[in-house]
Symmetry: D3
């Protein structure tokens, strides 16, 4: 791995990132064609956390948070820090002191492929964090890594400057080039979902609304009464 | 697998299901002889969720929620929807729109062998959900499965019409034929636990209350002082 | 395994244990030189739980809580009960009735290598519990084990009488012999962290505060612009 | 749970079970409509193990092999012993002494929801075992369970007398009522696969053999050259 | 996700891929600077498997192998097929019939983010496969995905045409642009390791050969006798 | 953690360790009273590996094998190297070059709480290794740890100089003070098992040999015919 800090990568618009954050992870994930979700292993450190910002990426050695210190300096208002490790680790590389430094710089949250600590304090600060684990296990500052290089987290590639979102459903990435499309599609989806919600509240069925009955017949689905089913089963 | 929808299976009494839900999972599980618990992997989507209803069962293909749409139509007031997949999946096959449709039909909650999304919205609605994961990962509607056939979830068989309960301790099944026995035994157990609780508050020991001292002697348990133990250890 | 109950082991001072509990797990873990953490698998049964007390240790057979009954009698005010099993188990060996008995004796909390049940009731009582799982799965009282012998939990040795702490970041052990050192070091660390927090709020960087810039240069870390990086990558 | 031993349940034909065992797990699973597989967690104790027999089922308490002793007496030539536990356990409840007793009775193998030990000896004996783990962890004989009641293993219901198969791909159940259908369908599938194998060896494509090209077009799949794809991506 | 098949992506030289396969995963991983390893979850289907080829990438829906059929047609001699799923799945999407078709086309092996079946037959054919699981669970052919787009597997990005290697230590990717560097560095590393091996056989220590003694002193490592250590510990 | 190397700890007799290794893990574990097993997660790198020796213990930082280099110098003929990490790691900290150096010193095997690489070469050398994972992921040499201090692995405490055994069933520790007892008890157990094996080969049942029938009656186990069971179930 090249041990390098890339300065001032181009970023998506931080206002756009905020709007996407408000649409939420499930909506934007669907709007983009069901891509970009970072998986169910990344959980919010406290319920109700929600954010959207531009990625500053970090690669750390397991059990070593040296590069997070390096990355803080690269953060700007509207950023979300994204921390990965070169191999799986649940150690608590990030805690309340880092959050204090980042909050000062206008950073909107952190997404950690490793563990987080000081959860009670982070909740108290209202600083949003998603992580693979909660862990008090401390770290050294011995081995260099990289800042603002492309990283992989939860099976997704995150480029510095991409939009990263998080809420109670987890976290996701929107590639910088897809932000405009995501904004349009998410707004359309929200509108469509509002109409569906209203229809469902009135008792309309998805089977009818989405025209699934014909497809089901074509797939050979049968309807049988309980008595018929029991009789066949004998 | 037979791709079939079984209509109108006989159900346990929904009033009985509600009473069992109030007794709670731990009590009913013990009352039935320590059977029926769906395991620690099924967690409530929000703390404080609690329910009891009659099972409508669904079998989905992983990553595919087509059959949940089919199942909604089969639900009646007092039901709890139980969703399984043909192989393990954490994808978020269920979210707030489904919950809206189900709430309209008087459904009391959902138990998912897969993932759930829109957790913040579900908490807001007060709609109870238990699931193996929280995941925004979306699904297709391509492959048929089954509704109201017997399913296996968390190592337990659930027949359509069985009672399904959930609370902060997880979820469980009470077979329809065991509901009457469960009601009697759970009430007895609650009464017994109330007496034990009162005794424990006064300082009585389980060793005495449950007559364990003799058994322990028979099992060869010794009592030694710390000094004696240290001496033996050398 | 020797089936034995060791009575009246020497304990750390319960006042010291309380003070360490207030410092919290992350701080004391760092203060001791990054040792003693019981790992990210032990989670509080409810958010905000916090405690510090002296360990009464228990070894149970999986699925069997007989020895917890034995251990209750050995508990004194200021203790924390620590339950392990001879092989991995998530069963709910501990619940609200045990908590009632322990609260009567002045016990400050429980740390379980297995599962816990009655989570809603425990939250209502404010009784602190850390566990590997939440599970309603019940237990038998058939096989003897041991009380107040050294145990291993989360990769750490816990001797009876050691201090055990827990908060939202998990749980940890402070060996009795290290309590005095832990108190001094934790107080020093809290003071140091307060100064760092103040500095970070003013915008000072960890890179400067911890003198990391020189080390990074020595480790060969480069800074390049985004354009330079893209060019090299071609 | 009812602590009961059910004697002499009706069994599928042991000759049929042997034939299904020779077809193998993947073939029979497909032939039955992709049902009955016990999941990837059950692995053979040694490579090349293969069997087919009629199930004698056991329910044990975790860490307790008392009921396996009870079950041995219920076994007949052509049986396969199926061991489950009331909650998850990897302990080695089964080893070479049990295998010796079972081999004497003509038992064809064992499928364990828990762990196995004496793996080297079992390989030497050629006695087939599938298990969730290899573990030397020993067990007690303290708590009763059941023999020849319906059990759940790997998400499947196994009734005593059902056919159980195992090979390098894992293990599966064929319900007694489905054995005749399984024999016919597996033979047909083997024949069909032989033809497909021959065609694939000559270079025919699955796309053509299974008529997938039209379906793919209907699903909107595009073919683009690498250059076109790169251009779109910009 | 765009449902697309990219035809004829540029590939690394298949002779180079073969040479890297002979160097082996551990050597090439180190030679490249400790990057590219696909993680310990991908295991060979049979011991002794070893390969190196150029990647043809596939994205499947979980439980659906439709796109593998599409991908076979895109394979050329010297390729290695790399299969991913849109969300985690252990289902056996690949087996002996696919291997027969691929062997006909000169494909050198398969790396699966999902499960494999027909393990005994694959071992018999000597066809190398790495996978996350062995599973007989069958699949449908219902939902389109993509072929020869960039994929993520085991935390690494794999572009079509990259070199993929596998042996008993797992599998790895060498980006096409890094192949020349990898060849040089792997040869150098093999040579260096041969010299080290010879020295270690003579009794030289790594401490001396790598000049670690000074570093250790600088890091504060102490040497104490057992008696001194015991004394300090009291 | 104190960064220290303890030199020349007292060791158990290496001849005794060899004898225990021949008895095997399952036998010695039972003989000692079912203690000391390091759990099912530690697996041999190749089937048939078997050893017994005296422990030299190592504590490494995750992803860092510096201390293994330090430990090699502390090894003597008859030792087994035991490597732990300060937090969980599957990285391949150990491979063939280390094995070469250790073989020169007469070391009998290695037990790793982390990963191993060069598995094919280790099998070729016949050098026994047990590990939590196989992984080619490489390591740095940056952070100091400890050698020959007490460690915890697989839930067991290992002191330097204790006996460590491994075979196909996993690995275990025998405390130095228990070696004499283990030798006697293992020999007795082997003898007893030989008699049981002979009896089982003749068809005697464990129920009779271990006198379990009376206990089962006392525990309330019923025997019912299949017909009676079916009738009750209705």
């Amino acid at each position: 791995m090249r041990t390098v800090v890339v300065t001032d990568p181009p970023r998506a618009d931080v206002g756009d990132a905020e709007v996407l954050g408000k649409h939420g992870v499930a909506t934007v994930h669907e709007a983009l064609g069901r891509v970009g979700y970072l998986g169910p292993e990344l959980r919010p450190a406290w319920p109700g956390a929600r954010t959207g910002g531009t990625a500053v990426t970090v690669v750390c050695w397991p059990g070593d948070n040296l590069m997070i210190h390096v990355a803080v300096e690269q953060c700007r208002p509207g950023d979300v820090l994204v921390v990965t490790t070169t191999s799986p680790s649940t150690d608590g590389l990030f805690g309340e002191l880092f959050a204090t430094a980042l909050a000062h710089r206008g950073v909107r949250g952190v997404v950690l492929g490793c563990g987080v600590r000081d959860v009670a304090e982070l909740r108290g600060m209202g600083f949003p964090v998603w992580s693979r684990a909660v862990s008090a296990q401390g770290s050294v500052k011995a081995t260099p890594g990289a800042v603002n290089v492309p990283v992989v987290l939860g099976g997704q590639v995150i480029q510095p400057g991409d939009v990263v979102l998080g809420d109670d459903d987890g976290a996701m990435v929107v590639p910088r080039a897809d932000v405009a499309r995501a904004l349009t599609a998410a707004a359309a989806r929200d509108e469509k979902e509002a109409a569906t919600r209203a229809a469902f509240r009135e008792g309309e069925l998805g089977l009818d609304r989405y025209g699934l009955r014909d497809r089901l017949a074509g797939l050979g689905l049968e309807y049988v009464t309980h008595d018929e089913y029991e009789r066949d089963d004998r």
